[in-house]
Symmetry: C2
Subunit: 225 residues, 2 copies
Protein backbone atom coordinates (compact mmCIF):
# COMPACT_ATOMS: atom_id res chain seq x y z
CA UNK A 1 0.00 0.00 0.00
CA UNK A 2 0.97 3.56 -0.53
CA UNK A 3 3.36 2.33 -3.16
CA UNK A 4 3.49 5.30 -5.46
CA UNK A 5 7.05 6.47 -5.42
CA UNK A 6 6.31 10.12 -5.57
CA UNK A 7 4.21 10.61 -2.42
CA UNK A 8 5.96 11.70 0.70
CA UNK A 9 3.05 9.97 2.45
CA UNK A 10 3.48 12.09 5.59
CA UNK A 11 0.57 14.10 6.97
CA UNK A 12 3.05 16.86 7.77
CA UNK A 13 0.79 19.74 6.70
CA UNK A 14 2.85 22.79 6.04
CA UNK A 15 2.45 25.86 8.16
CA UNK A 16 0.89 29.07 6.93
CA UNK A 17 -0.22 32.34 8.47
CA UNK A 18 -3.82 31.29 8.69
CA UNK A 19 -3.09 28.07 10.51
CA UNK A 20 -0.81 29.91 12.92
CA UNK A 21 -3.44 32.56 13.58
CA UNK A 22 -6.30 30.19 14.16
CA UNK A 23 -4.33 27.84 16.36
CA UNK A 24 -3.25 30.84 18.39
CA UNK A 25 -6.88 31.91 18.75
CA UNK A 26 -7.92 28.43 19.86
CA UNK A 27 -5.11 28.41 22.41
CA UNK A 28 -6.02 31.84 23.76
CA UNK A 29 -9.68 30.86 23.95
CA UNK A 30 -8.88 27.72 25.86
CA UNK A 31 -6.15 28.81 28.24
CA UNK A 32 -6.15 32.60 28.27
CA UNK A 33 -3.92 35.04 26.47
CA UNK A 34 -1.13 34.82 29.04
CA UNK A 35 -0.75 31.13 28.20
CA UNK A 36 -0.14 31.96 24.56
CA UNK A 37 3.63 31.89 24.15
CA UNK A 38 5.57 31.34 20.99
CA UNK A 39 6.97 28.07 22.34
CA UNK A 40 3.57 26.77 23.37
CA UNK A 41 2.05 27.75 20.04
CA UNK A 42 4.86 26.04 18.17
CA UNK A 43 4.34 22.91 20.22
CA UNK A 44 0.65 22.90 19.35
CA UNK A 45 1.57 23.10 15.69
CA UNK A 46 4.30 20.47 15.90
CA UNK A 47 7.02 23.00 15.20
CA UNK A 48 9.73 24.89 17.02
CA UNK A 49 8.96 28.40 18.23
CA UNK A 50 11.34 30.09 15.83
CA UNK A 51 9.62 28.54 12.81
CA UNK A 52 6.61 30.68 13.50
CA UNK A 53 8.60 33.74 12.52
CA UNK A 54 8.38 32.65 8.92
CA UNK A 55 4.69 33.49 9.05
CA UNK A 56 4.41 36.33 11.54
CA UNK A 57 6.81 39.22 11.91
CA UNK A 58 6.80 39.04 15.71
CA UNK A 59 4.40 38.44 18.57
CA UNK A 60 2.68 41.80 18.14
CA UNK A 61 1.98 40.97 14.53
CA UNK A 62 0.51 37.67 15.67
CA UNK A 63 -1.73 39.39 18.20
CA UNK A 64 -2.90 41.99 15.68
CA UNK A 65 -3.70 39.23 13.23
CA UNK A 66 -5.72 37.44 15.87
CA UNK A 67 -7.72 40.55 16.67
CA UNK A 68 -8.44 41.18 13.02
CA UNK A 69 -9.68 37.60 12.70
CA UNK A 70 -12.07 38.27 15.58
CA UNK A 71 -13.38 41.35 13.79
CA UNK A 72 -13.95 39.12 10.81
CA UNK A 73 -16.37 37.07 12.90
CA UNK A 74 -18.66 40.02 13.59
CA UNK A 75 -21.78 40.27 11.42
CA UNK A 76 -21.65 43.41 9.32
CA UNK A 77 -24.67 45.71 9.66
CA UNK A 78 -27.25 44.73 7.07
CA UNK A 79 -28.21 47.11 4.28
CA UNK A 80 -31.81 45.95 4.32
CA UNK A 81 -32.51 46.92 7.94
CA UNK A 82 -33.07 50.40 9.32
CA UNK A 83 -29.91 51.86 10.82
CA UNK A 84 -31.18 51.18 14.32
CA UNK A 85 -32.01 47.53 13.81
CA UNK A 86 -28.86 46.98 11.79
CA UNK A 87 -26.73 48.53 14.53
CA UNK A 88 -28.46 46.57 17.23
CA UNK A 89 -27.85 43.28 15.44
CA UNK A 90 -24.23 43.97 14.70
CA UNK A 91 -23.68 45.23 18.27
CA UNK A 92 -25.02 41.99 19.70
CA UNK A 93 -22.85 40.08 17.24
CA UNK A 94 -19.88 42.19 18.31
CA UNK A 95 -20.59 41.43 21.94
CA UNK A 96 -20.89 37.73 21.16
CA UNK A 97 -17.55 37.74 19.38
CA UNK A 98 -15.87 39.43 22.35
CA UNK A 99 -17.47 36.90 24.70
CA UNK A 100 -16.05 34.05 22.64
CA UNK A 101 -12.62 35.71 22.58
CA UNK A 102 -12.32 37.84 25.71
CA UNK A 103 -8.55 38.14 25.30
CA UNK A 104 -9.17 40.31 22.22
CA UNK A 105 -10.59 43.15 24.29
CA UNK A 106 -7.44 44.79 25.52
CA UNK A 107 -5.28 44.11 22.51
CA UNK A 108 -6.43 46.84 20.17
CA UNK A 109 -5.12 46.38 16.71
CA UNK A 110 -7.54 49.09 15.69
CA UNK A 111 -6.07 52.53 16.02
CA UNK A 112 -2.50 51.52 15.49
CA UNK A 113 -2.50 48.76 12.89
CA UNK A 114 -6.06 47.92 11.92
CA UNK A 115 -6.34 44.85 9.71
CA UNK A 116 -8.60 44.60 6.66
CA UNK A 117 -11.50 43.01 8.55
CA UNK A 118 -11.34 45.76 11.15
CA UNK A 119 -11.32 48.46 8.50
CA UNK A 120 -14.21 46.94 6.57
CA UNK A 121 -16.21 46.58 9.74
CA UNK A 122 -15.67 50.19 10.74
CA UNK A 123 -16.45 51.40 7.26
CA UNK A 124 -19.74 49.59 7.16
CA UNK A 125 -20.75 50.86 10.61
CA UNK A 126 -20.10 54.45 9.66
CA UNK A 127 -21.88 53.86 6.36
CA UNK A 128 -24.93 52.56 8.21
CA UNK A 129 -25.19 55.77 10.21
CA UNK A 130 -24.62 57.95 7.16
CA UNK A 131 -27.29 56.15 5.14
CA UNK A 132 -29.60 56.43 8.15
CA UNK A 133 -29.46 60.18 7.75
CA UNK A 134 -26.77 61.02 10.28
CA UNK A 135 -24.56 64.01 9.58
CA UNK A 136 -20.86 63.33 9.40
CA UNK A 137 -20.30 64.74 12.88
CA UNK A 138 -23.21 62.82 14.35
CA UNK A 139 -22.06 59.61 12.68
CA UNK A 140 -18.66 60.07 14.29
CA UNK A 141 -20.26 60.68 17.66
CA UNK A 142 -22.52 57.67 17.30
CA UNK A 143 -19.71 55.39 16.20
CA UNK A 144 -17.62 56.39 19.17
CA UNK A 145 -20.48 56.17 21.65
CA UNK A 146 -21.78 52.75 20.66
CA UNK A 147 -18.41 51.09 20.30
CA UNK A 148 -17.17 52.56 23.56
CA UNK A 149 -20.15 51.04 25.30
CA UNK A 150 -19.62 47.63 23.69
CA UNK A 151 -15.92 47.54 24.50
CA UNK A 152 -16.43 48.72 28.03
CA UNK A 153 -19.19 46.29 28.74
CA UNK A 154 -17.12 43.41 27.43
CA UNK A 155 -14.24 44.55 29.62
CA UNK A 156 -16.32 44.61 32.77
CA UNK A 157 -17.78 41.24 31.87
CA UNK A 158 -14.33 39.77 31.38
CA UNK A 159 -13.13 41.03 34.72
CA UNK A 160 -15.92 39.39 36.64
CA UNK A 161 -14.76 36.30 38.49
CA UNK A 162 -17.80 34.32 37.37
CA UNK A 163 -19.81 33.63 34.25
CA UNK A 164 -22.64 31.17 34.83
CA UNK A 165 -25.60 31.88 37.05
CA UNK A 166 -24.49 29.33 39.64
CA UNK A 167 -20.97 30.69 39.78
CA UNK A 168 -22.40 34.16 40.22
CA UNK A 169 -24.48 33.06 43.18
CA UNK A 170 -21.52 31.36 44.84
CA UNK A 171 -19.14 34.26 44.29
CA UNK A 172 -21.65 36.87 45.31
CA UNK A 173 -22.31 35.00 48.52
CA UNK A 174 -18.60 34.91 49.29
CA UNK A 175 -18.08 38.57 48.44
CA UNK A 176 -21.08 39.59 50.46
CA UNK A 177 -19.77 37.74 53.49
CA UNK A 178 -16.44 39.59 53.25
CA UNK A 179 -18.02 42.96 52.61
CA UNK A 180 -18.30 45.32 55.60
CA UNK A 181 -22.00 46.06 55.12
CA UNK A 182 -21.93 49.16 57.33
CA UNK A 183 -19.16 50.68 55.26
CA UNK A 184 -20.63 49.83 51.85
CA UNK A 185 -24.40 49.70 52.43
CA UNK A 186 -25.48 50.19 48.84
CA UNK A 187 -23.06 47.62 47.51
CA UNK A 188 -24.27 45.16 50.11
CA UNK A 189 -27.89 45.85 49.25
CA UNK A 190 -27.26 45.41 45.55
CA UNK A 191 -25.43 42.16 46.09
CA UNK A 192 -27.96 40.67 48.48
CA UNK A 193 -31.20 41.81 46.90
CA UNK A 194 -30.34 41.93 43.24
CA UNK A 195 -27.29 39.91 42.23
CA UNK A 196 -28.23 37.04 44.52
CA UNK A 197 -31.80 36.87 43.26
CA UNK A 198 -32.50 33.79 41.15
CA UNK A 199 -32.15 34.38 37.42
CA UNK A 200 -29.58 37.11 37.69
CA UNK A 201 -27.00 37.09 34.93
CA UNK A 202 -24.74 40.05 34.28
CA UNK A 203 -24.66 39.43 30.53
CA UNK A 204 -28.34 40.35 30.38
CA UNK A 205 -27.43 43.92 31.25
CA UNK A 206 -25.80 44.35 27.86
CA UNK A 207 -28.91 45.09 25.83
CA UNK A 208 -30.23 47.56 28.39
CA UNK A 209 -27.30 49.92 27.98
CA UNK A 210 -27.15 49.30 24.26
CA UNK A 211 -30.80 50.28 23.82
CA UNK A 212 -30.27 53.36 25.97
CA UNK A 213 -27.53 54.45 23.62
CA UNK A 214 -29.41 53.64 20.42
CA UNK A 215 -32.59 55.39 21.62
CA UNK A 216 -30.59 58.46 22.55
CA UNK A 217 -28.90 58.48 19.15
CA UNK A 218 -32.25 58.20 17.42
CA UNK A 219 -33.48 61.28 19.26
CA UNK A 220 -30.28 63.14 18.37
CA UNK A 221 -30.67 62.31 14.71
CA UNK A 222 -34.30 63.41 14.69
CA UNK A 223 -33.49 66.64 16.51
CA UNK A 224 -31.05 67.63 13.78
CA UNK A 225 -33.40 67.40 10.81
Amino acid sequence: MASLGKTTAEPRTRLNRDRVLHTAIALADANGIEALTMRRLGEELGVEAMSLYNHVANKDDLLNGMVDAVFGEIDLPSHSDTWKIAMRKRSVSFHDALSRHPWAIGLRDSGTQPGPATLRHHDRVIGTFRNGGFSLALAAHAFSAVDSYIYGFAMQEKSLPFTTEEETAVMAQIMLAQLPADEYPYLAELTANHVLQPGYNYSDEFTFGLDCMLDALERESQASD
Copy 2:
Protein backbone atom coordinates in the same frame (compact mmCIF):
# COMPACT_ATOMS: atom_id res chain seq x y z
CA MET B 1 28.25 69.29 61.91
CA ALA B 2 25.47 66.83 62.54
CA SER B 3 27.32 65.78 65.58
CA LEU B 4 24.54 64.23 67.58
CA GLY B 5 25.59 60.67 68.14
CA LYS B 6 22.24 59.12 67.68
CA THR B 7 21.38 60.28 64.17
CA THR B 8 22.34 58.06 61.28
CA ALA B 9 22.37 61.33 59.32
CA GLU B 10 21.52 59.57 56.04
CA PRO B 11 18.54 60.69 53.97
CA ARG B 12 17.84 57.02 53.33
CA THR B 13 14.06 57.26 53.67
CA ARG B 14 12.67 53.87 54.40
CA LEU B 15 10.44 52.13 51.94
CA ASN B 16 6.77 51.56 52.52
CA ARG B 17 3.84 50.33 50.49
CA ASP B 18 2.67 53.83 49.68
CA ARG B 19 6.02 54.98 48.37
CA VAL B 20 6.31 51.82 46.28
CA LEU B 21 2.81 52.27 44.85
CA HIS B 22 3.21 55.92 43.98
CA THR B 23 6.64 55.52 42.45
CA ALA B 24 5.24 52.66 40.37
CA ILE B 25 2.40 54.90 39.23
CA ALA B 26 4.80 57.68 38.29
CA LEU B 27 6.91 55.20 36.34
CA ALA B 28 3.91 53.77 34.50
CA ASP B 29 2.65 57.26 33.72
CA ALA B 30 6.00 58.32 32.33
CA ASN B 31 7.13 55.23 30.42
CA GLY B 32 4.11 53.01 30.01
CA ILE B 33 3.08 49.95 31.96
CA GLU B 34 5.33 47.62 30.00
CA ALA B 35 8.34 49.56 31.25
CA LEU B 36 7.34 48.94 34.84
CA THR B 37 9.45 46.02 35.97
CA MET B 38 10.35 45.10 39.50
CA ARG B 39 14.03 45.78 38.81
CA ARG B 40 13.35 49.17 37.27
CA LEU B 41 11.04 50.12 40.12
CA GLY B 42 13.64 49.07 42.64
CA GLU B 43 16.26 51.15 40.86
CA GLU B 44 13.99 54.18 40.99
CA LEU B 45 13.65 53.70 44.75
CA GLY B 46 17.34 53.05 45.32
CA VAL B 47 16.73 49.47 46.28
CA GLU B 48 17.12 45.98 44.81
CA ALA B 49 14.10 44.39 43.14
CA MET B 50 13.65 41.73 45.79
CA SER B 51 13.33 44.30 48.55
CA LEU B 52 10.03 45.39 47.08
CA TYR B 53 8.54 42.07 48.11
CA ASN B 54 8.59 43.25 51.71
CA HIS B 55 5.84 45.69 50.77
CA VAL B 56 3.89 43.98 48.00
CA ALA B 57 3.03 40.30 47.80
CA ASN B 58 3.88 40.05 44.10
CA LYS B 59 3.55 42.03 40.93
CA ASP B 60 -0.20 41.47 40.69
CA ASP B 61 -0.63 42.87 44.16
CA LEU B 62 1.40 45.88 43.08
CA LEU B 63 -0.77 46.42 40.01
CA ASN B 64 -3.98 46.05 42.00
CA GLY B 65 -2.71 48.56 44.50
CA MET B 66 -1.91 50.97 41.71
CA VAL B 67 -5.40 50.67 40.25
CA ASP B 68 -7.00 51.22 43.62
CA ALA B 69 -4.91 54.34 44.04
CA VAL B 70 -6.25 55.59 40.71
CA PHE B 71 -9.80 54.99 41.93
CA GLY B 72 -8.89 57.06 44.95
CA GLU B 73 -8.23 60.00 42.64
CA ILE B 74 -11.76 60.04 41.25
CA ASP B 75 -14.14 62.58 42.76
CA LEU B 76 -16.99 60.83 44.53
CA PRO B 77 -20.47 61.88 43.43
CA SER B 78 -21.64 64.76 45.55
CA HIS B 79 -24.61 64.39 47.88
CA SER B 80 -25.73 67.94 47.26
CA ASP B 81 -26.22 67.60 43.51
CA THR B 82 -29.06 65.86 41.72
CA TRP B 83 -28.15 62.33 40.68
CA LYS B 84 -27.67 63.40 37.10
CA ILE B 85 -25.33 66.27 37.80
CA ALA B 86 -23.46 64.28 40.42
CA MET B 87 -22.99 61.40 38.01
CA ARG B 88 -21.88 63.67 35.23
CA LYS B 89 -19.25 65.30 37.41
CA ARG B 90 -17.88 62.05 38.76
CA SER B 91 -17.89 60.53 35.25
CA VAL B 92 -15.80 63.38 33.90
CA SER B 93 -13.50 62.99 36.90
CA PHE B 94 -13.30 59.26 36.21
CA HIS B 95 -12.41 59.94 32.61
CA ASP B 96 -9.77 62.45 33.66
CA ALA B 97 -8.20 59.92 36.01
CA LEU B 98 -8.04 57.30 33.29
CA SER B 99 -6.50 59.85 30.93
CA ARG B 100 -3.79 60.59 33.47
CA HIS B 101 -3.17 56.88 34.02
CA PRO B 102 -4.11 55.08 30.82
CA TRP B 103 -2.28 51.93 31.90
CA ALA B 104 -4.96 51.43 34.57
CA ILE B 105 -7.64 50.70 32.01
CA GLY B 106 -6.95 47.07 31.25
CA LEU B 107 -5.74 46.05 34.67
CA ARG B 108 -9.02 45.53 36.47
CA ASP B 109 -8.58 45.12 40.17
CA SER B 110 -12.32 45.55 40.39
CA GLY B 111 -14.18 42.32 40.01
CA THR B 112 -11.44 40.12 41.31
CA GLN B 113 -9.70 42.00 44.10
CA PRO B 114 -11.25 45.44 44.47
CA GLY B 115 -9.38 47.67 46.88
CA PRO B 116 -11.03 49.92 49.45
CA ALA B 117 -11.06 53.01 47.23
CA THR B 118 -12.69 51.01 44.46
CA LEU B 119 -15.33 49.66 46.80
CA ARG B 120 -16.10 53.04 48.29
CA HIS B 121 -16.36 54.56 44.85
CA HIS B 122 -18.77 51.90 43.62
CA ASP B 123 -20.84 52.14 46.77
CA ARG B 124 -21.26 55.86 46.41
CA VAL B 125 -22.20 55.59 42.74
CA ILE B 126 -24.89 53.04 43.44
CA GLY B 127 -26.06 55.13 46.38
CA THR B 128 -26.39 58.15 44.14
CA PHE B 129 -28.74 56.29 41.80
CA ARG B 130 -30.75 54.85 44.69
CA ASN B 131 -31.17 58.24 46.32
CA GLY B 132 -32.15 59.63 42.94
CA GLY B 133 -35.16 57.36 42.99
CA PHE B 134 -33.82 54.46 40.93
CA SER B 135 -35.11 51.00 41.74
CA LEU B 136 -32.50 48.44 42.69
CA ALA B 137 -32.66 46.83 39.27
CA LEU B 138 -32.48 50.15 37.46
CA ALA B 139 -29.57 51.29 39.62
CA ALA B 140 -27.70 48.12 38.64
CA HIS B 141 -28.47 48.73 34.99
CA ALA B 142 -27.41 52.32 35.20
CA PHE B 143 -24.19 51.55 37.03
CA SER B 144 -23.25 48.99 34.42
CA ALA B 145 -24.24 51.17 31.48
CA VAL B 146 -22.41 54.32 32.54
CA ASP B 147 -19.23 52.65 33.69
CA SER B 148 -19.08 50.47 30.59
CA TYR B 149 -19.22 53.57 28.48
CA ILE B 150 -16.51 55.31 30.46
CA TYR B 151 -14.17 52.34 30.38
CA GLY B 152 -14.75 51.68 26.73
CA PHE B 153 -14.22 55.28 25.74
CA ALA B 154 -10.98 55.43 27.69
CA MET B 155 -9.85 52.24 25.98
CA GLN B 156 -10.48 53.59 22.51
CA GLU B 157 -8.79 56.82 23.44
CA LYS B 158 -5.74 54.99 24.70
CA SER B 159 -5.43 52.94 21.54
CA LEU B 160 -5.34 55.98 19.30
CA PRO B 161 -1.86 56.68 18.00
CA PHE B 162 -2.20 60.38 18.72
CA THR B 163 -3.35 62.73 21.46
CA THR B 164 -2.87 66.38 20.60
CA GLU B 165 -4.71 68.10 17.79
CA GLU B 166 -1.53 68.48 15.73
CA GLU B 167 -0.60 64.83 16.12
CA THR B 168 -4.12 63.90 15.09
CA ALA B 169 -3.86 65.91 11.91
CA VAL B 170 -0.50 64.39 11.01
CA MET B 171 -1.56 60.83 11.72
CA ALA B 172 -4.92 61.22 9.99
CA GLN B 173 -3.16 62.52 6.91
CA ILE B 174 -0.86 59.53 6.86
CA MET B 175 -3.65 57.04 7.45
CA LEU B 176 -5.81 58.65 4.81
CA ALA B 177 -3.00 58.41 2.28
CA GLN B 178 -2.65 54.68 2.95
CA LEU B 179 -6.38 54.03 2.95
CA PRO B 180 -7.86 52.56 -0.25
CA ALA B 181 -10.65 55.12 -0.54
CA ASP B 182 -12.67 53.04 -2.97
CA GLU B 183 -12.73 50.13 -0.58
CA TYR B 184 -13.51 52.13 2.54
CA PRO B 185 -15.43 55.17 1.29
CA TYR B 186 -17.11 56.10 4.55
CA LEU B 187 -13.94 55.79 6.55
CA ALA B 188 -12.17 57.96 4.01
CA GLU B 189 -14.93 60.54 4.09
CA LEU B 190 -14.92 60.64 7.88
CA THR B 191 -11.17 61.04 8.02
CA ALA B 192 -10.95 63.70 5.35
CA ASN B 193 -14.00 65.79 6.17
CA HIS B 194 -14.30 65.39 9.91
CA VAL B 195 -11.13 64.23 11.65
CA LEU B 196 -8.93 66.44 9.51
CA GLN B 197 -11.06 69.53 10.09
CA PRO B 198 -9.38 72.13 12.32
CA GLY B 199 -10.35 71.85 15.95
CA TYR B 200 -11.06 68.15 15.92
CA ASN B 201 -10.11 66.36 19.10
CA TYR B 202 -11.32 62.88 19.89
CA SER B 203 -11.50 63.53 23.63
CA ASP B 204 -14.34 65.95 22.98
CA GLU B 205 -16.53 63.04 21.95
CA PHE B 206 -16.59 61.82 25.54
CA THR B 207 -19.33 64.06 26.86
CA PHE B 208 -21.57 63.41 23.88
CA GLY B 209 -21.89 59.71 24.59
CA LEU B 210 -22.02 60.33 28.32
CA ASP B 211 -24.94 62.71 27.98
CA CYS B 212 -26.71 60.26 25.67
CA MET B 213 -26.48 57.65 28.38
CA LEU B 214 -27.50 59.95 31.24
CA ASP B 215 -30.47 61.34 29.30
CA ALA B 216 -31.62 57.84 28.47
CA LEU B 217 -31.33 56.81 32.10
CA GLU B 218 -33.32 59.82 33.19
CA ARG B 219 -36.14 58.81 30.88
CA GLU B 220 -36.00 55.25 32.17
CA SER B 221 -36.25 56.39 35.75
CA GLN B 222 -39.18 58.66 34.97
CA ALA B 223 -40.98 55.93 33.06
CA SER B 224 -40.89 53.67 36.07
CA ASP B 225 -42.60 55.96 38.54
